[in-house]
């Protein structure tokens, strides 16, 4: 003879879910799956934006360091000479600066003319230590899948009397992640707009 408790256990283990049980289980399952997917998406976004930001910052830092090191060692007496054909204007017509400049390194009582130039079509920044030997060049930057240099220009400053001070160089650069982080352009931490100054210190 079977006991009552055995019968109940047998019946419980053998029956299917009720509709309510099924709905509760499904709701819990959907909630859990949603949570896991949310975490995955959030971490993937974070990883992507972090990588994009880090890459752009690193590229900008390296470019800035190269420009600063180069300009600091150039002749303050000579300053910079713009390549006037590379003038860059704002949409309102104001001169922002020059995408290509000549600078001068003092040597043996004379000067070696060097140049820094930016090509906006491919983001290449080229440093030519001696324009008399143009085949020797160093490429400081070029566009890649995760970083694009959208603007680079140089401008001089003024002395207190209003005269030109071409030994204090202002540099403006804009760089972004080429859409790598898939963030909107208005709130993208990997979209930077840097503006720095360098005082030439050689031959002063």
């Amino acid at each position: 003879m079977k006991t009552a408790s055995t019968n109940i256990a047998s019946r419980i283990s053998g029956r299917a879910f009720t509709l309510v049980e099924l709905m509760v289980a499904a709701a819990l399952g959907v909630g859990l799956a949603g949570t896991v997917v949310l975490l995955l998406l959030q971490s993937a976004t974070e990883q992507r934006t972090g990588f994009a930001d880090m890459t752009v910052e690193e590229q900008a830092y390296t470019l800035q360091a190269n420009i600063t090191t180069c300009l600091r060692s150039m002749s303050a007496n000579q300053g910079l000479t713009p390549n006037y054909g590379s003038a860059l204007y704002s949409p309102t017509g104001n001169l922002l600066g020059y995408q290509s400049i000549f600078v001068f390194y003092p040597t043996n009582g004379g000067y070696v003319t060097a140049s820094i130039s930016y090509n906006s079509s491919n983001g290449v920044v080229l440093y030519t230590p001696n324009i008399a030997a143009p085949s020797i060049q160093t490429q400081w930057m070029t566009n890649s899948a995760s970083s694009v240099l959208t603007e680079l220009c140089f401008s001089s400053s003024l002395n207190l009397d209003g005269s030109q001070n071409s030994s204090l160089v202002n540099v403006l650069l804009q760089m972004n992640d080429n859409g790598f982080s898939q963030q909107s352009t208005t709130n993208n931490a990997a979209s930077i707009y840097r503006n720095f100054s360098v005082q030439m210190r050689n031959d002063n």
């Binding site: 910052e57 002395n159 207190l160 001070n165 931490a189 100054s197």
Partner: protein
């Protein structure tokens, strides 16, 4: 009972993961903001270094292109030991990336200490600090600073 325990454990895991993500975001943001602040100070200081020694004084612009005339922004050396806000248009024009910390009360303090030799002004110690609220207010005010010495100009070394 088992369901409650399982959900509790899952909740803890979820909170831990979310916390790790937010911590990472805060760390990223702090690093970026420190880099921006350092860059801003470097530019500010580089302009002061290029000034004639006699023009390193409170109230004077750091360069004539920042003298506030003809639509130019006014970026001057503030009164010594007075905090100035960096949220105005002039500073955003001077250094556009300040926009990233614009809603977290960025401020700058410039301290000028004059040293004389034989009664004549010989050098000025300049300390420039910038501070701002941390992201999500985690960790108090962030701060970076730059120190340098401007000695009196000499015609030849």
């Amino acid at each position: 009972m088992e369901i409650t325990v399982a959900l509790g454990l899952l909740g803890i895991c979820f909170a831990a993961c979310l916390s790790a993500i937010v911590t990472n975001q805060v760390c990223d943001r702090k690093a970026k903001e420190q880099a921006i602040a350092m860059d801003f100070l470097t530019k500010y200081v580089e302009n002061i270094k290029a000034l004639p020694f006699s023009a390193v004084a409170p109230g004077l612009p750091i360069n004539s292109i920042y003298n506030g005339l003809g639509g130019a922004p006014l970026i001057a050396i503030p009164a010594s030991n007075s905090w100035v806000s960096l949220t105005n248009t002039a500073f955003l024009t001077f250094y556009p990336d300040l926009l990233w910390v614009n809603n977290r009360n960025p401020a700058m303090l410039v301290s000028l200490t004059q040293n004389s030799i034989g009664g004549a002004l010989h050098d000025i110690e300049i300390n420039v600090k910038m501070d701002w609220d941390a992201p999500l207010s985690k960790g108090g005010r962030q701060e970076v600073e730059v120190d340098f010495l401007r000695t009196v100009d000499v015609p030849t070394l």
